[in-house]
Symmetry: C2
Subunit: 748 residues, 2 copies
Amino acid sequence: MYSFFPLFYMAWADAVLLPSEIAAIEGYLRKQVWLTPEETEFLSGFLDPKHPPTPQELKSWKKAINESELEVRDSLAEIGMKLSNLKGSDTPVEVRTALLEMEDMLGIASSEATYHLRANKPKTIIEELASRPSFDPAIMNALLDGAEHDIIQKVKTILCDPAFRYIDPDSLTTYREQVLTWCRLLAEQGFGAMAYPEAYGGEDDMRKYFTIMETLSYHDLSTVIKFGVQFGLWGMSVYFLGTKKHHDKYLKDIGTLQLPGCFAMTETGHGSNVKGVQTTATYQHSNRTFIIHTPTELDTKEYIGNAALHGQMATVFAKLIIDDTDYGVNAFVVPLRTPKGEMHTGVTITDCGRKMGLNGVDNGKIAFDQVEIPYDNMLDKYASVDESGNFQSPITSDNRRFFTMLGTLVGGRIGIPRAGLSAAKSGLTIAIKYGDQRQQFGPENGQEVPILNYRTHQRRLMPLLANAYALHFALQHVTNRFLKRTEDEMQEIEAMAAGLKAWATWNTTHTLQECREACGGKGYLSENRLDRLKNDTDVFTTFEGDNTVLMQLVAKGRLSEFKKQFSDINFFGMVNYVTQHAKTSIVEMNPITIRNTDEAHLLDPEFHLAAFRYHENEILSSAAKRFKKHLDAGMDSFDAFNQTQYHMVQVGHAYVERLILEQFLEAVERTEDPKCKEALRKLCQLFALTQLEKNKGWYLEQDYLAGSKTKAIRKLINQLCWEVRQDAVALVDAFKIPKECLGAEIVG
Amino acid sequence: MYSFFPLFYMAWADAVLLPSEIAAIEGYLRKQVWLTPEETEFLSGFLDPKHPPTPQELKSWKKAINESELEVRDSLAEIGMKLSNLKGSDTPVEVRTALLEMEDMLGIASSEATYHLRANKPKTIIEELASRPSFDPAIMNALLDGAEHDIIQKVKTILCDPAFRYIDPDSLTTYREQVLTWCRLLAEQGFGAMAYPEAYGGEDDMRKYFTIMETLSYHDLSTVIKFGVQFGLWGMSVYFLGTKKHHDKYLKDIGTLQLPGCFAMTETGHGSNVKGVQTTATYQHSNRTFIIHTPTELDTKEYIGNAALHGQMATVFAKLIIDDTDYGVNAFVVPLRTPKGEMHTGVTITDCGRKMGLNGVDNGKIAFDQVEIPYDNMLDKYASVDESGNFQSPITSDNRRFFTMLGTLVGGRIGIPRAGLSAAKSGLTIAIKYGDQRQQFGPENGQEVPILNYRTHQRRLMPLLANAYALHFALQHVTNRFLKRTEDEMQEIEAMAAGLKAWATWNTTHTLQECREACGGKGYLSENRLDRLKNDTDVFTTFEGDNTVLMQLVAKGRLSEFKKQFSDINFFGMVNYVTQHAKTSIVEMNPITIRNTDEAHLLDPEFHLAAFRYHENEILSSAAKRFKKHLDAGMDSFDAFNQTQYHMVQVGHAYVERLILEQFLEAVERTEDPKCKEALRKLCQLFALTQLEKNKGWYLEQDYLAGSKTKAIRKLINQLCWEVRQDAVALVDAFKIPKECLGAEIVG
């Protein structure tokens, strides 16, 4: 009778067998002629739902079964027979037959059941998986840092100084003062003035300035933003929009933080549509002054960093009015408060108060009531008022002049995504290291396994790790292009910066959200810093240009770039070009390629690039065609753009993704260390395939990819995630973020 | 010559004409034989990039053009001729011809250009768009509230009392005390005890309890969670897991908040895998006590609400050990501290400190060092120790017993998504009302327009508004099912609650993120409360079950439900069924339906339901097949599940989405007011089509939808967003969230 115990055990333990299955076994037992009615009754007794065995009986069966020394592949019948033999009786042939028949009857349920009985199972695949780095993180780190390695190390060393230890952010007052102190300490190191000419205490090194911002972003994000407001926005507006007289007067003190200042562009009523700001600067020829004035509450300067407490001056953007004629938005230096903090007459500043994040930055609202400033305070690089009181500018159109002024400040759109990427790298370091340590669930009778071994966890984090590497190279690229720019390239670089800023900062928000969730409850505790990383960077998708607006800007740029490239006098000649171009791709789109699911093909960068470029061109072409169709039908161009707006945003995404892929591929190619090269290649493949999967609806709609191919891509992504998981800890180690900066107890 | 001024204006103003286009015009002018060399020179002078006109000249041209009284459809040539006539000379025929030819040459650029010149254009479509509610929000509100209207009103009235005014959350200490006070005030109203029997001060009304939680969630979320910990988790664990002796002793004091308590289940080392908790409760027969003990630091109870400051007792989940035998996880009431706050011997509590949100809740860690509790403190509804010291339980298996105990607490998985939905409704109310007021950009020479008129803004918010309505009805449904449950339905209801909890809380996170971004900088300021809404609800995707784990639970349930439904003794008989079932659908999938882009068809609920059900069945079938294939190949079931894990999560999503759609459709059907019915129908269509679009990659892979059809769906979603936008303010007004609760200055 012992032979049936495994069966009974399975019937009662943890619902492995369903009532219907139990009933079938009972029916089968009753049909066995070799059993006496008493035996049948006795056996069926163990299956009666009205009279379950006691917990103690269940435990004793389990004990007996475990003592029978199960083998890996033992079936339920074999276990029964072993048990019976162990108890001293050979299994009779009828019982053996009955057991085998029942096993057959139960099908999978039987083999599934035996898993539950085995005490010493071989390790499962998932238990075996672990971190097995395929490369040296130090070499990878050197490769990521490149020529900037020394300055990065210097910044990291300073951030590890006890003076930079994180403080409790509870009190707004204390936190803001701490952030000011941190900025002063950084200025003392010469970091603030880095991009200014040597004559003003700098090294004329914009590249280093970007690298400093990026590295500071491993630490407190409020400090980075305050630093950027002071030395980037305030300082560089004086540097780029002003002339020598302004440089001489202000730049040195700005670089040392002797003269804290603000960048007062955004108004309550005008953020994205910044050329619509309503603050006025009225020229008075009688005493050669300007009167800065805020007409209504909606025209108050808002969200201005450094304004609530520390700023003594501001670059104020205002419409220049001369003799009742509006000459568009120009920039002026306006004193706000004395070094002792006394407000100047006519200036009213209110505190923006607590924000979702960046609470170490003292944002404020500034209103001007007829504030008179001297003639010299106009930043006159692009426009001025001459001695007769006439407006002078080398740029005829007000709008074009304003956008030229803004263009010199495009650096902010490069600095922000680089800062955001650092925050994403911090989040990934925390979540991946935690996922590698944290164990939860495991096979029956086995050990619990690291959560990073689970496919869903890999699927969450590995593509985001690939994105971080991809963006690293893409943002390096746009920085290089910006630093070496010529006038002609400016429009292209602006589009590139706008698009990357939007894509990268959305990626930061998304990455940190996944990292928070991937760390569960631990991710919610402030002691692990994911909350601050998330909250501090959340506004990155808004400031320096709302992402949705920026993506439309990119799309507009793409449309006119085509127009320019082909010098076609008919605006929509380019539509024909794009269509033509797309048709060429279609020729390449033969049925075999569309259906090709060979791994070698799916991993081929040629395939990735072709697909990304096809996406970019085709989506641009269809957006342009649709836009033209609406215009042809007599629609206002504003309406026509709105009709295609959703589409235009996709144009921006497709453009940015192609750009990122190209840069990632180039980075892989120029990597010399073979192991790093291989690890990067895998990440790049994961990046490319993840984007293709994200856009698979579109590719399928276009018949560019067949269903069989997108399914094969999904499978390959799973495989790549599995492989990258083994490198994941090394890949975040290569960021070399000091643990003092990470500030997360779970990965202390 | 005046006739050419419009052309010159366009050449210099805002880069409407490209250099190549200007060069072409110049070339054309030079070919005009009727112009004298001097005239040509004069005219070309205005096009010379080396000698641009002054800003003043540009402004004077513009002024002249504006004085020529343009008509809507005037072309560039016509404007030129008008201008020339205005200046007193008839346009010579050669000039007329030249202008017309140039206009032709410029193509679209010309007609685009004229837009810029018109001062009084007709209103664009986008300017005309506005809020035009198609129904009465009060009727819709009554419909949403249903039979619970009175209790909802009562709770809202209390929340509007000055005693519930929001406080500055800077200080953790003050905030936590305030939240305790708010909970006491709510208990005084009888809200806390609502679900308990009348004998214990309640009304035995679980439905009302849910409704109270949901309504409180329009206010401070910390209060809701503290309220839920006290009256839901702590109180209901005593109520459902304990017996009369416990009810008599504790329940009344719990309901009045005389006896604050905790629910101590999660441990640092075991969150999702909660049946693995390691805290022990060792039975001592000598004095009939239990010794509660925390073996290692990893086994500390963590994240326990009410623990850091206020809890006097806790329901502690621990492994019951009798004579060295482990009887699985059971529940015990353990005293923590005296009413005066003195800790009991052996109990160590540390504060979890600041969190991303919910900082009004005092979460703590609890460790027990050999804490002795009396025999009566075991909550003995499902298991007990008899007088001889033997374990007794009607449920044989330890695991099954534990999950039965958990099942009684499934209410939490209904309460949380309902609370999250309220937060999402608050966010939508703020973002939609702001989007309706906030103006930015506009047509050339036109007014700025509300940002909610933009397609991208509608695309962001309208589908989320539809989700909120959809979830409202689905969560009502699962509440009803839960309240009227029978034993047999329990597994199904648990799966439903788990799936809806996951889907709804992810939706909350996503909705609030979009709302934050949609409000730009204003959304980042704490004064508009989106930060707190986001941060407080972020952990909803983690607690009461990590969403990814819950979705897998749903998938497992779906697999075994099929198994049960068909009483097939072979586990994977159901695979054949599902495949069969899918095949039936394929028969319906005739080529005409696949390609049917008729609006009536695309909006037809029959089409939506069929597509959702096909998705659900087919994805379940393929997950099951894949799972079986791995098992057949000899893979451990744990590995096999991991291989298909990503797929299993999709099974969960597909199931939940079908469930939500069915409930939304039923809600539309039972709506009597024809205007509300129509508005809801539109929202339901938007919900259905948005899900189809989200999953279009999958549908296209399956050849269930053709590319032409998914494109038509996209277009229709745009259209529905446009229509719903006009109802949007009324749709959020129908939530009737008091402005005191909203607490957002931008929609004050």
